[in-house]
Amino acid sequence: MNSMAVFSIKGGTGKTTLSGSLGWIMAERGHQVLLIDMDAQGHLTQLFRGKPGKGQTKLYYSLIHEQPLSETIVHTSNPNLFLIPATEDHYYLNSALLSKPWREWKLKDALQAIYPFPYDLVIIDLGANLTLSTYVAMFAAKILVIPVLPDILSYLSLKSLFTFLDKTCKNYKYSFDMIWVLMNRMNNHRPLDRENMRALEKYYAKFLMPVMVREDLKFSEATKERIPVTSYAPHSIAARDMKKVADFLEPIIFQPKSPKPS
């Protein structure tokens, strides 16, 4: 199962936009993609106008009452793209998870229980906070993508996140396959942005994605229209940069796995 979480501790770094755009591009390229909106704000759900049907199982009930996760999935306007929407129950997810054994692995288990698994890629969009839901989402993901902005606060929060990831992975004996830091809203004309980029290149070289997303108002316009930017303005900087991110991730996500030695 190819799964990717998009997460950063800092808010407003473009997690939802990145999740939605990447999901859309991968779906347009023929991959079956499942988006999971784990952010209680539900912006990804709003972006794709995804709402559970009347009486349909919600993610909360799937994780807490162990109802099949497949029953929570809704369709989007793209036939290859599916969504597990956020609902108001997400606000109670953390407190409900507290009493559950093996709570951190609930989403991973629920995903693995879908058989046969029809999705080529699962993208999990997280809110900017460290809660049980964060653990639940992160432990269901093999790849972690961390969008950062070219400012000092993003840089500082990245250090906190790396410390958290290091400790968490050691404590839970969990290891991601890959962790990528993605520079978002970069403006090369601003010296401070360039300075920030140089710092990332110096101190996060191993994790820094060799592509970046430049600042472009088309993101906001597309979000307002609730259309993925690659459809709203396919020739814009925003769309082209997003495609470059997809170009970078696609081969490493879908690379053929080498057979394990027996």
């Binding site: 410390t163 962790i179 920030n196 970046m212």
Partner: protein, 113 residues
């Protein structure tokens, strides 16, 4: 300013299992210039397209002007010919009227005698 970044550089790193190595170190210069070059190339293409479009428009306008000029010359020539014909006709009419008046005078004279 560099100190802020150095002072807050990460000290603990998670260890992903399959993190691919980026084969070529990211060249800041290239990264800075890459998007800029792309933008400049796009602008260049847009400007060249615009020039081509204007040139085509200009050529078309020149061609139209030439055609109009020829049409004006033709019409002027036709007007000049028509004026000449009108003058000839006027002259002929005057002669005819004179002949007619003379005839009338002769008829009147004959009637009186």
């Amino acid at each position: 300013m560099e100190d802020v970044y150095a002072a807050n550089a990460p000290t603990e790193f998670p260890a992903p299992k399959e993190q691919p190595k980026i084969e070529e170190p990211i060249n800041m210069e290239e990264k800075q210039n890459g998007p800029m070059k792309e933008t400049v190339d796009r602008w260049k293409k847009e400007i060249l397209d615009k020039i081509q479009y204007l040139k085509e428009n200009f050529d078309q306008a020149s061609h139209d002007r030439e055609a109009l000029s020829q049409e004006i010359d033709r019409l002027k020539e036709e007007l000049s010919n028509s004026q000449e014909r009108a003058q000839a006709l006027d002259k002929k009419l005057a002669e005819t009227m004179e002949t007619f008046n003379n005839l009338l005078d002769e008829v009147s004279g004959a009637l009186r005698t």
